[in-house]
């Protein structure tokens, strides 16, 4: 019982702490890749504290409600991950959070917010099936959806699920809002969509959304770490390498439009998943 409470607390604290650090590291690495110096490591925390202390401006009640629900759902998903719960449950809870974010953006009449929300829905349409297929692959290999089973598995999952790991890479790129799939919030192109999905979230609401995003990032990197869960060093190494490659891709690629995203992610993702699943089934 005490162990459970400790894991819940670790999950709740790890999200913002690790997520913020990862995001700070991301900004420094991106700056270095562009031959700049970049902000301090703690910059994302300063940003969130500042946003939290700004004047409260909400478009309507639903928007604030959705921001709170988003944080709640994503933090629950991460806590479930730390409790070594069911992978399917985690994926679904995470999806509920993402839907609340979209509903919050749709509750405002701003065209930027609306277009951003629709693009986010398209992004969800492209990555959610792949996320489910990854968990199905883990199930076929270990015989259980529980994370507990992954940790007790005798060999790293990457040996048997290499293509599904690539598929998870696609999901990560979409989910981290990185180029080339940086459509809904247009992180690097204010001219096109202002801030897309996040245009009408301001002040404390934006801070909440940011914290929710950190929870999601930590959850997804946690999912990556499951692919080398036999020892700690392997888990840390695989997360770092994957994240570095993500940042590299973000910096060397231009943004695609949604047709390309859907085409690429579905054709590549579904084919790779299918090949890997058939291979698992046959062997």
């Amino acid at each position: 019982m005490i162990e459970t409470v400790v894991f819940i607390l670790i999950g709740l604290a790890c999200g913002p702490l690790l997520g913020g650090l990862v995001s700070g590291l991301d900004r420094i690495l991106t700056a270095r890749l562009q031959s700049r110096i970049g902000p301090p490591l703690w910059q994302p925390f300063y940003d969130v504290i500042k946003l939290w202390s700004k004047e409260k401006t909400v478009v309507n009640v639903w928007q604030a409600f959705c921001a709170y629900c988003y944080v709640a759902a994503t933090s629950i998903a991460l806590v479930l991950f730390f409790l070594r719960s069911d992978l399917l449950l985690i994926v679904f809870v995470q999806a509920v959070g993402a839907v609340f974010l979209v509903v919050g953006a749709l509750s405002s009449t701003s065209p930027f917010s609306q277009i951003g929300a629709h693009r986010e829905l398209l992004q969800m349409l492209s990555y959610e099936p792949l996320l489910i297929l990854v968990t199905v692959g883990i199930f076929l290999e270990t015989g259980s959806f529980k994370i507990e089973a992954v940790y007790s598995w005798h060999q790293p999952l990457l040996m048997k699920l290499p293509f599904l790991f690539l598929v998870l890479g696609f999901v990560l790129t979409v989910k981290l809002r990185k180029s080339p799939f940086d459509l809904s919030t247009s992180h690097h192109a204010h001219q096109e969509l202002v801030k897309g999905l996040l245009t009408d979230y301001a002040g404390p609401c934006l801070a909440l959304v940011e914290i929710g995003h950190w929870y999601e990032v930590v959850l997804l990197l946690g999912l990556c770490s499951l692919f080398w869960a036999t020892n700690w060093m392997g888990m840390i190494a695989i997360v770092f390498i994957t994240y570095f490659i993500e940042i590299l891709i973000d910096n060397v690629s231009a943004r695609l439009n949604w047709r390309w995203m859907l085409g690429y992610v579905w054709s590549m993702g579904l084919t790779l998943s299918l090949v890997n699943l058939v291979w698992l089934y046959v062997s």
């Binding site: 902000p39 301090p40 940003d47 504290i49 500042k50 202390s53 004047e55 204010h190 301001a202």
Partner: protein, 158 residues
Amino acid sequence: MLKTLIQKARVKSPWLLHYDCSSCNGCDIEVLACLTPIYDVERFGMINVGNPMHADILLVTGTVNHRNKKVLVNLFDQMPHPRRVIAIGSCALSGGIFREAYNVVGGVNKVIPVDVYVPGCPAKPEAIIDGVILGLKKFSRKRGAEKSCESRSELRQL
């Protein structure tokens, strides 16, 4: 302690909104030059945002005329508190060489309250960064000063 943390976060994370009131683009290019690897204002946590609702500091370049003064006031009103306005270049300060033109209202301070004036034609990137840092120092000022500033803005709008 919480107050000092918030104060520090505000100084460390200024998000800039840049509005061009019919400038000749000289000052705008200098503003954008601040974001390049040579000056790299992201070192100070500054980000160029396109959304007034996310911005802390409004950078205004160019002369204010009767067409764009409403846009400027609208952008200023959309920015949540605390916020600062920095006027960049001769035109934004006083109207510059267009001061006497029939369509020109004058400097930015005729429409919204300005906190920092950065002179120059065009203003140097170093001067712009200095101006933003000066604006950030004003975040640690007392609340009363800000209040009086706001009432002035309401006066201007009438």
